[in-house]
Symmetry: C2
Subunit: 316 residues, 2 copies
Protein backbone atom coordinates (compact mmCIF):
# COMPACT_ATOMS: atom_id res chain seq x y z
CA UNK A 1 0.00 0.00 0.00
CA UNK A 2 1.20 3.47 -0.79
CA UNK A 3 -0.79 5.96 1.20
CA UNK A 4 0.90 9.26 1.50
CA UNK A 5 -0.67 10.70 4.60
CA UNK A 6 -3.49 10.61 7.10
CA UNK A 7 -5.67 13.70 7.18
CA UNK A 8 -6.75 14.42 10.75
CA UNK A 9 -8.90 16.99 12.47
CA UNK A 10 -7.39 18.04 15.75
CA UNK A 11 -9.07 19.83 18.61
CA UNK A 12 -6.81 22.85 18.36
CA UNK A 13 -8.08 24.58 21.47
CA UNK A 14 -10.45 23.61 24.27
CA UNK A 15 -13.56 25.79 23.83
CA UNK A 16 -14.56 27.90 26.80
CA UNK A 17 -17.94 28.91 25.37
CA UNK A 18 -19.66 28.36 22.04
CA UNK A 19 -17.88 25.83 19.87
CA UNK A 20 -16.77 27.06 16.45
CA UNK A 21 -14.59 26.06 13.52
CA UNK A 22 -11.71 27.99 15.10
CA UNK A 23 -11.38 25.27 17.72
CA UNK A 24 -10.40 22.71 15.11
CA UNK A 25 -7.43 22.32 12.82
CA UNK A 26 -6.94 20.13 9.76
CA UNK A 27 -3.55 18.50 9.71
CA UNK A 28 -1.71 15.62 8.11
CA UNK A 29 -0.55 12.93 10.47
CA UNK A 30 1.40 9.77 10.02
CA UNK A 31 -0.20 6.60 8.78
CA UNK A 32 -0.93 4.40 11.78
CA UNK A 33 0.86 1.05 11.92
CA UNK A 34 -1.37 -1.66 13.38
CA UNK A 35 0.20 -3.95 15.98
CA UNK A 36 -0.81 -7.57 16.56
CA UNK A 37 -4.52 -7.71 17.41
CA UNK A 38 -5.14 -4.34 15.80
CA UNK A 39 -6.95 -3.41 12.62
CA UNK A 40 -6.08 -0.61 10.24
CA UNK A 41 -9.29 0.99 9.03
CA UNK A 42 -10.24 3.74 6.62
CA UNK A 43 -12.93 5.98 7.97
CA UNK A 44 -15.95 6.27 5.68
CA UNK A 45 -18.53 8.21 7.75
CA UNK A 46 -17.97 10.01 11.04
CA UNK A 47 -20.84 10.04 13.53
CA UNK A 48 -21.19 13.65 14.68
CA UNK A 49 -22.92 13.49 18.04
CA UNK A 50 -23.73 16.06 20.70
CA UNK A 51 -21.71 13.97 23.11
CA UNK A 52 -18.58 14.94 21.17
CA UNK A 53 -18.98 18.45 22.55
CA UNK A 54 -19.38 17.16 26.09
CA UNK A 55 -16.11 15.27 25.84
CA UNK A 56 -14.28 18.59 25.39
CA UNK A 57 -15.51 19.83 28.78
CA UNK A 58 -13.59 17.27 30.79
CA UNK A 59 -13.68 13.64 31.78
CA UNK A 60 -17.10 12.05 31.40
CA UNK A 61 -17.57 8.34 30.87
CA UNK A 62 -14.37 8.64 28.85
CA UNK A 63 -11.26 10.77 29.17
CA UNK A 64 -11.51 14.37 28.07
CA UNK A 65 -10.49 15.26 24.55
CA UNK A 66 -7.59 17.63 25.08
CA UNK A 67 -6.21 20.37 22.87
CA UNK A 68 -3.73 19.13 20.30
CA UNK A 69 -5.12 15.62 20.02
CA UNK A 70 -7.15 14.08 17.22
CA UNK A 71 -10.81 14.84 17.86
CA UNK A 72 -12.49 11.73 19.27
CA UNK A 73 -15.54 10.19 17.69
CA UNK A 74 -17.05 7.02 16.38
CA UNK A 75 -17.23 6.19 12.71
CA UNK A 76 -18.24 3.66 10.12
CA UNK A 77 -14.98 2.39 8.68
CA UNK A 78 -13.64 -0.19 6.27
CA UNK A 79 -10.96 -2.70 7.18
CA UNK A 80 -7.79 -2.11 5.19
CA UNK A 81 -5.34 -4.36 6.98
CA UNK A 82 -6.17 -6.91 9.65
CA UNK A 83 -3.92 -8.32 12.36
CA UNK A 84 -6.70 -10.28 14.02
CA UNK A 85 -8.53 -13.36 12.71
CA UNK A 86 -12.06 -11.99 13.05
CA UNK A 87 -11.72 -9.25 10.43
CA UNK A 88 -10.54 -9.19 6.85
CA UNK A 89 -9.96 -6.36 4.37
CA UNK A 90 -13.23 -4.98 3.04
CA UNK A 91 -15.23 -5.63 6.22
CA UNK A 92 -17.31 -2.73 7.49
CA UNK A 93 -16.96 -1.88 11.18
CA UNK A 94 -17.96 0.71 13.77
CA UNK A 95 -15.31 1.97 16.14
CA UNK A 96 -13.86 4.91 18.00
CA UNK A 97 -11.48 6.00 15.28
CA UNK A 98 -11.44 9.70 15.93
CA UNK A 99 -11.81 12.30 13.22
CA UNK A 100 -9.19 11.10 10.79
CA UNK A 101 -8.92 9.16 7.56
CA UNK A 102 -7.09 6.16 8.92
CA UNK A 103 -6.92 4.66 12.37
CA UNK A 104 -5.46 1.61 14.01
CA UNK A 105 -7.95 0.15 16.46
CA UNK A 106 -7.86 -3.00 18.64
CA UNK A 107 -10.04 -5.66 17.01
CA UNK A 108 -12.00 -6.16 20.21
CA UNK A 109 -13.07 -2.51 20.20
CA UNK A 110 -14.70 -2.83 16.78
CA UNK A 111 -18.26 -3.86 15.96
CA UNK A 112 -18.93 -5.57 12.65
CA UNK A 113 -21.56 -3.85 10.47
CA UNK A 114 -23.70 -5.23 7.66
CA UNK A 115 -23.26 -3.79 4.19
CA UNK A 116 -26.44 -1.89 3.47
CA UNK A 117 -27.44 0.91 1.17
CA UNK A 118 -27.46 3.78 1.72
CA UNK A 119 -24.40 3.42 3.94
CA UNK A 120 -25.46 6.58 5.79
CA UNK A 121 -28.14 4.51 7.52
CA UNK A 122 -25.29 2.91 9.45
CA UNK A 123 -24.64 6.15 11.29
CA UNK A 124 -28.26 7.27 11.51
CA UNK A 125 -31.01 4.76 12.26
CA UNK A 126 -28.57 1.84 12.66
CA UNK A 127 -25.86 3.93 14.32
CA UNK A 128 -25.27 5.90 17.49
CA UNK A 129 -28.34 8.06 16.90
CA UNK A 130 -30.75 5.23 16.21
CA UNK A 131 -29.47 3.00 19.00
CA UNK A 132 -29.52 5.89 21.46
CA UNK A 133 -33.09 6.68 20.52
CA UNK A 134 -34.18 3.07 20.67
CA UNK A 135 -32.67 2.06 24.01
CA UNK A 136 -33.25 5.41 25.66
CA UNK A 137 -36.89 5.57 24.72
CA UNK A 138 -37.87 1.94 25.15
CA UNK A 139 -35.58 0.62 27.89
CA UNK A 140 -35.31 3.79 29.97
CA UNK A 141 -38.50 5.70 29.12
CA UNK A 142 -40.68 2.61 28.73
CA UNK A 143 -43.63 4.32 27.04
CA UNK A 144 -46.97 2.58 26.86
CA UNK A 145 -49.51 2.84 24.07
CA UNK A 146 -51.52 6.01 24.41
CA UNK A 147 -49.05 7.79 26.66
CA UNK A 148 -47.65 11.22 25.91
CA UNK A 149 -43.97 11.33 24.97
CA UNK A 150 -42.06 14.60 24.77
CA UNK A 151 -38.60 14.79 23.25
CA UNK A 152 -36.28 17.80 23.21
CA UNK A 153 -33.75 18.57 20.49
CA UNK A 154 -36.44 16.80 18.52
CA UNK A 155 -35.08 17.78 15.13
CA UNK A 156 -31.66 16.38 16.02
CA UNK A 157 -30.28 13.03 14.96
CA UNK A 158 -31.46 11.27 18.13
CA UNK A 159 -34.65 13.24 18.82
CA UNK A 160 -36.07 12.79 15.34
CA UNK A 161 -35.75 9.01 15.67
CA UNK A 162 -37.11 8.99 19.24
CA UNK A 163 -40.30 10.62 18.03
CA UNK A 164 -40.71 8.18 15.17
CA UNK A 165 -40.22 5.14 17.42
CA UNK A 166 -42.71 6.62 19.88
CA UNK A 167 -45.24 6.91 17.05
CA UNK A 168 -44.64 3.26 16.14
CA UNK A 169 -45.44 2.50 19.78
CA UNK A 170 -48.76 4.38 19.47
CA UNK A 171 -47.86 7.30 21.70
CA UNK A 172 -48.85 10.92 21.41
CA UNK A 173 -45.57 12.59 20.45
CA UNK A 174 -44.53 16.17 21.02
CA UNK A 175 -41.19 17.46 19.83
CA UNK A 176 -39.44 20.54 21.20
CA UNK A 177 -37.14 22.19 18.69
CA UNK A 178 -35.66 25.60 17.92
CA UNK A 179 -37.35 27.41 15.07
CA UNK A 180 -40.52 27.22 13.03
CA UNK A 181 -38.91 25.38 10.11
CA UNK A 182 -37.83 22.47 12.26
CA UNK A 183 -41.27 22.31 13.86
CA UNK A 184 -43.00 22.12 10.48
CA UNK A 185 -40.62 19.35 9.47
CA UNK A 186 -41.37 17.35 12.64
CA UNK A 187 -45.10 17.51 12.11
CA UNK A 188 -45.37 17.28 8.34
CA UNK A 189 -42.52 14.98 7.48
CA UNK A 190 -42.01 12.87 10.60
CA UNK A 191 -45.58 12.60 11.80
CA UNK A 192 -45.10 14.12 15.26
CA UNK A 193 -48.47 15.07 16.77
CA UNK A 194 -47.24 18.47 17.92
CA UNK A 195 -44.05 20.49 17.78
CA UNK A 196 -43.12 23.29 20.14
CA UNK A 197 -40.68 26.01 19.12
CA UNK A 198 -38.80 26.87 22.30
CA UNK A 199 -37.34 29.96 20.69
CA UNK A 200 -40.77 31.52 20.23
CA UNK A 201 -41.10 32.15 23.99
CA UNK A 202 -43.82 30.99 26.38
CA UNK A 203 -42.38 27.48 26.33
CA UNK A 204 -44.26 26.33 29.42
CA UNK A 205 -47.63 27.47 28.10
CA UNK A 206 -47.13 26.21 24.57
CA UNK A 207 -46.01 22.85 25.87
CA UNK A 208 -49.06 22.71 28.10
CA UNK A 209 -51.33 23.26 25.12
CA UNK A 210 -49.50 20.60 23.15
CA UNK A 211 -49.62 18.08 26.02
CA UNK A 212 -52.94 18.81 27.74
CA UNK A 213 -52.90 15.45 29.55
CA UNK A 214 -49.40 15.95 30.94
CA UNK A 215 -46.19 14.15 30.06
CA UNK A 216 -45.62 10.46 30.75
CA UNK A 217 -42.19 10.10 29.19
CA UNK A 218 -39.74 12.93 28.64
CA UNK A 219 -36.70 12.09 26.54
CA UNK A 220 -34.25 14.79 27.53
CA UNK A 221 -31.39 15.78 25.28
CA UNK A 222 -30.87 19.28 26.61
CA UNK A 223 -31.25 19.86 30.36
CA UNK A 224 -31.71 23.43 31.59
CA UNK A 225 -34.93 25.39 31.15
CA UNK A 226 -36.55 22.89 28.85
CA UNK A 227 -35.96 20.12 31.40
CA UNK A 228 -37.51 22.42 34.01
CA UNK A 229 -40.61 23.12 31.92
CA UNK A 230 -41.13 19.43 31.22
CA UNK A 231 -40.50 18.37 34.81
CA UNK A 232 -43.30 20.63 35.99
CA UNK A 233 -45.70 18.98 33.55
CA UNK A 234 -44.81 15.36 34.20
CA UNK A 235 -47.58 13.02 35.25
CA UNK A 236 -47.40 10.89 38.36
CA UNK A 237 -44.99 7.97 37.81
CA UNK A 238 -43.58 9.62 34.71
CA UNK A 239 -40.15 8.70 33.41
CA UNK A 240 -37.37 10.99 32.26
CA UNK A 241 -34.78 9.38 30.01
CA UNK A 242 -31.66 11.51 30.54
CA UNK A 243 -29.71 11.30 27.31
CA UNK A 244 -27.74 14.52 27.21
CA UNK A 245 -27.52 18.11 28.33
CA UNK A 246 -26.80 20.08 25.19
CA UNK A 247 -27.85 23.36 26.81
CA UNK A 248 -24.89 23.03 29.17
CA UNK A 249 -22.10 22.02 26.82
CA UNK A 250 -21.05 25.50 25.77
CA UNK A 251 -20.73 26.69 29.37
CA UNK A 252 -17.41 27.05 31.14
CA UNK A 253 -18.90 26.16 34.54
CA UNK A 254 -21.98 24.08 35.27
CA UNK A 255 -25.18 26.07 35.70
CA UNK A 256 -27.73 25.56 38.43
CA UNK A 257 -30.03 22.65 37.87
CA UNK A 258 -33.73 22.74 37.01
CA UNK A 259 -36.15 24.01 39.65
CA UNK A 260 -38.24 21.25 41.10
CA UNK A 261 -35.35 18.82 41.52
CA UNK A 262 -35.78 16.88 43.69
CA UNK A 263 -39.13 18.17 45.06
CA UNK A 264 -41.25 17.31 42.04
CA UNK A 265 -39.47 13.99 41.60
CA UNK A 266 -40.71 13.04 45.06
CA UNK A 267 -44.22 14.40 44.83
CA UNK A 268 -44.87 12.84 41.42
CA UNK A 269 -42.86 9.65 42.08
CA UNK A 270 -40.83 10.31 38.96
CA UNK A 271 -37.88 8.32 37.77
CA UNK A 272 -35.04 10.17 36.03
CA UNK A 273 -32.45 7.83 34.63
CA UNK A 274 -29.31 8.40 32.64
CA UNK A 275 -27.86 6.09 30.04
CA UNK A 276 -25.02 5.84 27.54
CA UNK A 277 -25.69 4.03 24.29
CA UNK A 278 -22.48 2.01 24.42
CA UNK A 279 -23.83 0.20 27.49
CA UNK A 280 -26.43 -1.31 25.18
CA UNK A 281 -24.15 -2.31 22.30
CA UNK A 282 -24.42 -5.99 23.16
CA UNK A 283 -28.17 -5.75 22.51
CA UNK A 284 -27.70 -3.99 19.19
CA UNK A 285 -29.48 -6.69 17.17
CA UNK A 286 -32.68 -6.18 19.12
CA UNK A 287 -32.73 -2.49 18.27
CA UNK A 288 -31.88 -2.93 14.64
CA UNK A 289 -34.91 -5.16 14.22
CA UNK A 290 -37.26 -2.21 14.63
CA UNK A 291 -35.76 -0.59 11.54
CA UNK A 292 -35.31 -3.78 9.55
CA UNK A 293 -37.28 -4.60 6.38
CA UNK A 294 -39.32 -7.20 8.22
CA UNK A 295 -40.49 -4.72 10.78
CA UNK A 296 -40.95 -1.97 8.27
CA UNK A 297 -43.61 -3.84 6.36
CA UNK A 298 -45.87 -3.14 9.32
CA UNK A 299 -44.78 0.43 9.79
CA UNK A 300 -43.35 1.41 6.46
CA UNK A 301 -44.49 4.96 6.78
CA UNK A 302 -42.03 5.63 9.57
CA UNK A 303 -39.15 3.77 8.07
CA UNK A 304 -39.50 5.50 4.75
CA UNK A 305 -39.88 8.82 6.47
CA UNK A 306 -36.82 8.17 8.53
CA UNK A 307 -34.57 7.37 5.60
CA UNK A 308 -35.84 10.30 3.59
CA UNK A 309 -35.41 12.65 6.50
CA UNK A 310 -31.90 11.74 7.20
CA UNK A 311 -31.05 12.32 3.55
CA UNK A 312 -32.88 15.62 3.61
CA UNK A 313 -31.04 16.75 6.69
CA UNK A 314 -27.66 15.98 5.22
CA UNK A 315 -28.33 18.37 2.37
CA UNK A 316 -28.91 21.41 4.57
Amino acid sequence: MAIACNRQILLAETPKSKLGPEHFKLTEGEMPKPAEGEILVRVRLISLDAANRAWMQGATYRSAVTAGSVMAGGSVAEVIESHAPQFKPGDLVFGDTGWQEYASVPAKALTRLPKIEPMTNLISVYGIAGLTAYFGLLDIGNPKSGETVVVSAAAGSVGSIVGQIAKIKHCRVIGIAGGAEKCVWLKNQLGFDEAVDYKSGALFKTLKSAAPNGIDVYFDNVGGEIFEACLAQMNVRGRIACCGAVSQYDMAAPASGPRGVPGLIVVKRLRAEGFIVTDFFDQRERAIAIFSPGFSRASSRYRRTSSRDLRTRRKR
Copy 2:
Protein backbone atom coordinates in the same frame (compact mmCIF):
# COMPACT_ATOMS: atom_id res chain seq x y z
CA MET B 1 -70.57 9.18 75.94
CA ALA B 2 -70.05 12.60 77.42
CA ILE B 3 -67.09 14.23 75.81
CA ALA B 4 -67.06 17.96 76.22
CA CYS B 5 -64.95 19.08 73.30
CA ASN B 6 -62.40 18.21 70.69
CA ARG B 7 -59.06 19.98 71.05
CA GLN B 8 -57.65 20.81 67.65
CA ILE B 9 -54.51 22.42 66.30
CA LEU B 10 -55.27 24.62 63.33
CA LEU B 11 -52.86 25.95 60.76
CA ALA B 12 -53.56 29.58 61.66
CA GLU B 13 -51.54 31.09 58.86
CA THR B 14 -49.71 29.73 55.83
CA PRO B 15 -45.98 30.18 56.52
CA LYS B 16 -44.03 32.16 53.93
CA SER B 17 -40.63 31.30 55.37
CA LYS B 18 -39.44 29.44 58.47
CA LEU B 19 -42.24 27.61 60.22
CA GLY B 20 -42.84 28.54 63.86
CA PRO B 21 -45.37 28.10 66.67
CA GLU B 22 -47.01 31.36 65.58
CA HIS B 23 -48.41 29.58 62.52
CA PHE B 24 -50.52 27.27 64.68
CA LYS B 25 -53.46 27.83 67.00
CA LEU B 26 -54.99 25.56 69.63
CA THR B 27 -58.74 25.61 69.53
CA GLU B 28 -61.72 23.59 70.68
CA GLY B 29 -63.87 22.16 67.94
CA GLU B 30 -67.03 20.16 67.91
CA MET B 31 -67.04 16.44 68.49
CA PRO B 32 -67.23 14.73 65.11
CA LYS B 33 -70.30 12.59 64.47
CA PRO B 34 -69.43 9.49 62.45
CA ALA B 35 -71.75 8.62 59.57
CA GLU B 36 -72.42 5.10 58.30
CA GLY B 37 -69.13 3.51 57.27
CA GLU B 38 -67.15 5.89 59.42
CA ILE B 39 -65.23 5.36 62.62
CA LEU B 40 -64.87 7.77 65.51
CA VAL B 41 -61.33 7.55 66.83
CA ARG B 42 -59.37 9.12 69.64
CA VAL B 43 -55.91 10.18 68.59
CA ARG B 44 -53.17 8.70 70.76
CA LEU B 45 -49.93 9.64 68.96
CA ILE B 46 -49.50 12.06 66.06
CA SER B 47 -46.81 11.28 63.48
CA LEU B 48 -44.85 14.49 62.97
CA ASP B 49 -43.24 14.21 59.56
CA ALA B 50 -41.26 16.59 57.37
CA ALA B 51 -43.89 16.08 54.71
CA ASN B 52 -46.37 17.96 56.94
CA ARG B 53 -44.40 21.11 56.21
CA ALA B 54 -44.44 20.45 52.46
CA TRP B 55 -48.22 20.19 52.52
CA MET B 56 -48.43 23.83 53.64
CA GLN B 57 -46.64 24.99 50.48
CA GLY B 58 -49.41 23.96 48.12
CA ALA B 59 -50.90 20.92 46.46
CA THR B 60 -48.53 17.96 46.41
CA TYR B 61 -49.77 14.37 46.23
CA ARG B 62 -52.59 15.68 48.40
CA SER B 63 -54.46 18.98 48.65
CA ALA B 64 -52.67 21.83 50.36
CA VAL B 65 -53.34 22.41 54.04
CA THR B 66 -54.88 25.86 54.07
CA ALA B 67 -55.00 28.49 56.80
CA GLY B 68 -57.88 28.01 59.21
CA SER B 69 -58.20 24.25 58.79
CA VAL B 70 -57.17 21.50 61.17
CA MET B 71 -53.52 20.68 60.52
CA ALA B 72 -53.32 17.47 58.50
CA GLY B 73 -51.32 14.48 59.64
CA GLY B 74 -51.43 10.78 60.32
CA SER B 75 -51.79 9.32 63.77
CA VAL B 76 -52.09 6.19 65.83
CA ALA B 77 -55.62 6.23 67.18
CA GLU B 78 -58.05 4.12 69.14
CA VAL B 79 -61.53 3.24 67.94
CA ILE B 80 -64.22 4.80 70.14
CA GLU B 81 -67.33 4.22 68.10
CA SER B 82 -67.61 2.09 64.98
CA HIS B 83 -70.13 2.31 62.17
CA ALA B 84 -68.42 -0.34 60.05
CA PRO B 85 -68.20 -4.08 60.71
CA GLN B 86 -64.41 -4.40 60.45
CA PHE B 87 -63.59 -2.27 63.52
CA LYS B 88 -64.77 -2.35 67.13
CA PRO B 89 -64.16 -0.04 70.07
CA GLY B 90 -60.68 -0.50 71.49
CA ASP B 91 -59.04 -1.37 68.16
CA LEU B 92 -55.83 0.49 67.34
CA VAL B 93 -55.62 2.06 63.87
CA PHE B 94 -53.50 4.35 61.73
CA GLY B 95 -55.21 7.05 59.74
CA ASP B 96 -55.15 10.61 58.47
CA THR B 97 -56.92 12.14 61.45
CA GLY B 98 -55.29 15.53 61.48
CA TRP B 99 -53.91 17.17 64.61
CA GLN B 100 -56.91 16.83 66.88
CA GLU B 101 -58.11 14.65 69.75
CA TYR B 102 -61.03 13.06 67.95
CA ALA B 103 -61.72 12.43 64.29
CA SER B 104 -64.30 10.68 62.22
CA VAL B 105 -62.60 8.74 59.43
CA PRO B 106 -63.99 6.40 56.72
CA ALA B 107 -63.28 2.81 57.77
CA LYS B 108 -61.61 2.07 54.44
CA ALA B 109 -59.04 4.80 55.04
CA LEU B 110 -57.86 3.21 58.29
CA THR B 111 -55.14 0.59 58.76
CA ARG B 112 -55.44 -1.80 61.69
CA LEU B 113 -52.41 -1.82 64.00
CA PRO B 114 -51.20 -4.48 66.42
CA LYS B 115 -51.10 -3.64 70.12
CA ILE B 116 -47.43 -3.50 71.02
CA GLU B 117 -45.41 -1.88 73.73
CA PRO B 118 -44.10 0.72 73.70
CA MET B 119 -46.90 2.15 71.60
CA THR B 120 -44.50 4.80 70.28
CA ASN B 121 -42.94 2.11 68.09
CA LEU B 122 -46.14 2.30 66.03
CA ILE B 123 -45.22 5.78 64.82
CA SER B 124 -41.46 5.22 64.63
CA VAL B 125 -40.08 1.94 63.31
CA TYR B 126 -43.54 0.53 62.50
CA GLY B 127 -44.96 3.86 61.38
CA ILE B 128 -44.50 6.42 58.62
CA ALA B 129 -40.82 6.86 59.45
CA GLY B 130 -39.94 3.18 59.51
CA LEU B 131 -41.96 2.30 56.43
CA THR B 132 -40.54 5.27 54.52
CA ALA B 133 -37.02 4.21 55.43
CA TYR B 134 -37.65 0.58 54.57
CA PHE B 135 -39.29 0.97 51.18
CA GLY B 136 -37.23 3.97 50.13
CA LEU B 137 -33.94 2.33 50.92
CA LEU B 138 -34.65 -1.23 49.80
CA ASP B 139 -37.17 -0.87 46.97
CA ILE B 140 -35.92 2.42 45.50
CA GLY B 141 -32.26 2.51 46.56
CA ASN B 142 -31.69 -1.24 46.28
CA PRO B 143 -28.35 -1.33 48.12
CA LYS B 144 -26.12 -4.37 47.85
CA SER B 145 -23.87 -5.76 50.53
CA GLY B 146 -20.63 -3.81 50.69
CA GLU B 147 -21.97 -0.75 48.88
CA THR B 148 -21.73 2.75 50.30
CA VAL B 149 -25.03 4.30 51.41
CA VAL B 150 -25.30 7.98 52.28
CA VAL B 151 -28.37 9.40 53.97
CA SER B 152 -29.13 13.06 54.66
CA ALA B 153 -31.18 14.36 57.59
CA ALA B 154 -29.62 11.25 59.07
CA ALA B 155 -30.56 12.09 62.65
CA GLY B 156 -34.19 12.53 61.68
CA SER B 157 -36.95 10.02 62.17
CA VAL B 158 -36.53 8.52 58.68
CA GLY B 159 -32.80 8.97 58.21
CA SER B 160 -31.86 7.31 61.49
CA ILE B 161 -33.79 4.20 60.49
CA VAL B 162 -32.45 4.23 56.92
CA GLY B 163 -28.92 4.03 58.28
CA GLN B 164 -29.76 1.18 60.62
CA ILE B 165 -31.44 -0.86 57.87
CA ALA B 166 -28.45 -0.22 55.62
CA LYS B 167 -26.18 -1.60 58.34
CA ILE B 168 -28.38 -4.69 58.61
CA LYS B 169 -27.83 -5.04 54.85
CA HIS B 170 -24.05 -4.92 55.36
CA CYS B 171 -23.47 -1.56 53.71
CA ARG B 172 -20.98 1.12 54.61
CA VAL B 173 -23.22 3.87 56.00
CA ILE B 174 -22.55 7.59 56.14
CA GLY B 175 -25.01 9.99 57.70
CA ILE B 176 -25.16 13.70 56.97
CA ALA B 177 -26.60 15.72 59.85
CA GLY B 178 -26.45 19.21 61.29
CA GLY B 179 -24.25 19.53 64.38
CA ALA B 180 -21.58 17.58 66.18
CA GLU B 181 -23.93 16.16 68.78
CA LYS B 182 -26.11 14.45 66.18
CA CYS B 183 -23.04 13.10 64.45
CA VAL B 184 -21.69 11.55 67.63
CA TRP B 185 -25.11 9.98 68.24
CA LEU B 186 -25.19 8.49 64.73
CA LYS B 187 -21.79 6.87 65.11
CA ASN B 188 -21.80 5.86 68.76
CA GLN B 189 -25.42 4.93 69.30
CA LEU B 190 -26.70 3.88 65.88
CA GLY B 191 -23.55 2.31 64.50
CA PHE B 192 -23.18 4.47 61.39
CA ASP B 193 -19.69 4.10 59.94
CA GLU B 194 -19.24 7.82 59.47
CA ALA B 195 -21.20 10.99 60.12
CA VAL B 196 -20.69 14.30 58.34
CA ASP B 197 -21.72 17.58 59.96
CA TYR B 198 -22.90 19.74 57.08
CA LYS B 199 -22.90 22.81 59.31
CA SER B 200 -19.15 22.57 59.87
CA GLY B 201 -18.42 23.67 56.28
CA ALA B 202 -16.41 21.87 53.60
CA LEU B 203 -19.25 19.42 53.05
CA PHE B 204 -17.93 18.14 49.74
CA LYS B 205 -14.47 17.42 51.10
CA THR B 206 -15.64 15.88 54.36
CA LEU B 207 -18.06 13.68 52.50
CA LYS B 208 -15.29 12.61 50.16
CA SER B 209 -13.15 11.54 53.09
CA ALA B 210 -16.06 9.66 54.63
CA ALA B 211 -16.94 7.91 51.35
CA PRO B 212 -13.57 7.40 49.65
CA ASN B 213 -15.01 4.79 47.27
CA GLY B 214 -17.87 7.04 46.15
CA ILE B 215 -21.58 6.71 46.82
CA ASP B 216 -23.68 3.85 45.49
CA VAL B 217 -26.99 4.78 47.12
CA TYR B 218 -27.95 8.25 48.28
CA PHE B 219 -31.14 8.46 50.31
CA ASP B 220 -32.10 12.10 49.94
CA ASN B 221 -34.32 13.83 52.46
CA VAL B 222 -33.17 17.38 51.82
CA GLY B 223 -32.43 18.38 48.21
CA GLY B 224 -30.37 21.56 47.64
CA GLU B 225 -26.65 21.78 48.28
CA ILE B 226 -26.40 18.44 50.00
CA PHE B 227 -28.04 16.74 47.03
CA GLU B 228 -25.54 18.54 44.82
CA ALA B 229 -22.54 17.41 46.86
CA CYS B 230 -23.73 13.80 46.86
CA LEU B 231 -24.62 13.81 43.16
CA ALA B 232 -21.06 14.78 42.30
CA GLN B 233 -19.73 11.82 44.28
CA MET B 234 -22.10 9.14 43.03
CA ASN B 235 -20.60 6.05 41.45
CA VAL B 236 -21.60 4.84 38.01
CA ARG B 237 -25.05 3.23 38.15
CA GLY B 238 -25.73 4.75 41.55
CA ARG B 239 -29.26 5.23 42.80
CA ILE B 240 -30.79 8.25 44.46
CA ALA B 241 -33.92 7.58 46.48
CA CYS B 242 -35.75 10.92 46.50
CA CYS B 243 -37.72 11.00 49.72
CA GLY B 244 -38.08 14.69 50.50
CA ALA B 245 -36.64 18.15 50.05
CA VAL B 246 -36.54 19.60 53.54
CA SER B 247 -34.09 22.31 52.49
CA GLN B 248 -36.78 23.78 50.25
CA TYR B 249 -39.84 23.67 52.50
CA ASP B 250 -39.29 27.01 54.22
CA MET B 251 -38.90 28.87 50.91
CA ALA B 252 -41.62 30.98 49.38
CA ALA B 253 -40.54 30.17 45.81
CA PRO B 254 -38.68 27.10 44.57
CA ALA B 255 -34.91 27.51 44.38
CA SER B 256 -32.73 26.44 41.49
CA GLY B 257 -31.96 22.77 41.40
CA PRO B 258 -28.66 21.07 42.10
CA ARG B 259 -25.82 21.60 39.63
CA GLY B 260 -25.08 18.50 37.62
CA VAL B 261 -28.74 17.72 36.87
CA PRO B 262 -29.12 16.21 34.39
CA GLY B 263 -25.50 16.11 33.13
CA LEU B 264 -24.10 13.87 35.85
CA ILE B 265 -27.19 11.67 35.74
CA VAL B 266 -26.34 10.92 32.11
CA VAL B 267 -22.60 10.52 32.44
CA LYS B 268 -22.87 8.23 35.48
CA ARG B 269 -26.04 6.43 34.35
CA LEU B 270 -27.71 7.34 37.62
CA ARG B 271 -31.28 6.69 38.56
CA ALA B 272 -33.08 9.26 40.72
CA GLU B 273 -36.50 8.09 41.78
CA GLY B 274 -39.13 9.61 43.99
CA PHE B 275 -41.58 7.75 46.18
CA ILE B 276 -44.33 8.32 48.72
CA VAL B 277 -44.66 5.85 51.56
CA THR B 278 -48.42 5.50 51.20
CA ASP B 279 -47.89 3.87 47.80
CA PHE B 280 -46.33 0.97 49.69
CA PHE B 281 -48.93 0.59 52.44
CA ASP B 282 -50.27 -2.62 50.93
CA GLN B 283 -46.83 -4.16 51.45
CA ARG B 284 -46.60 -3.03 55.06
CA GLU B 285 -46.28 -6.55 56.50
CA ARG B 286 -43.10 -7.17 54.54
CA ALA B 287 -41.47 -4.09 56.02
CA ILE B 288 -42.58 -4.76 59.55
CA ALA B 289 -40.87 -8.15 59.44
CA ILE B 290 -37.46 -6.50 59.46
CA PHE B 291 -38.21 -4.97 62.84
CA SER B 292 -40.11 -7.92 64.29
CA PRO B 293 -38.86 -9.98 67.25
CA GLY B 294 -38.11 -12.90 64.94
CA PHE B 295 -35.83 -10.80 62.81
CA SER B 296 -34.30 -9.04 65.75
CA ARG B 297 -32.85 -12.22 67.19
CA ALA B 298 -30.43 -12.13 64.28
CA SER B 299 -29.75 -8.43 64.45
CA SER B 300 -30.69 -7.50 67.96
CA ARG B 301 -28.10 -4.79 68.17
CA TYR B 302 -29.90 -2.65 65.67
CA ARG B 303 -33.37 -3.27 66.92
CA ARG B 304 -32.39 -2.47 70.48
CA THR B 305 -30.53 0.60 69.35
CA SER B 306 -33.49 1.72 67.35
CA SER B 307 -35.95 1.48 70.22
CA ARG B 308 -33.61 3.20 72.62
CA ASP B 309 -32.88 5.96 70.19
CA LEU B 310 -36.41 6.79 69.50
CA ARG B 311 -37.07 7.06 73.23
CA THR B 312 -33.99 9.23 73.66
CA ARG B 313 -35.07 11.56 70.90
CA ARG B 314 -38.50 12.09 72.34
CA LYS B 315 -36.97 13.45 75.55
CA ARG B 316 -35.03 16.25 73.85
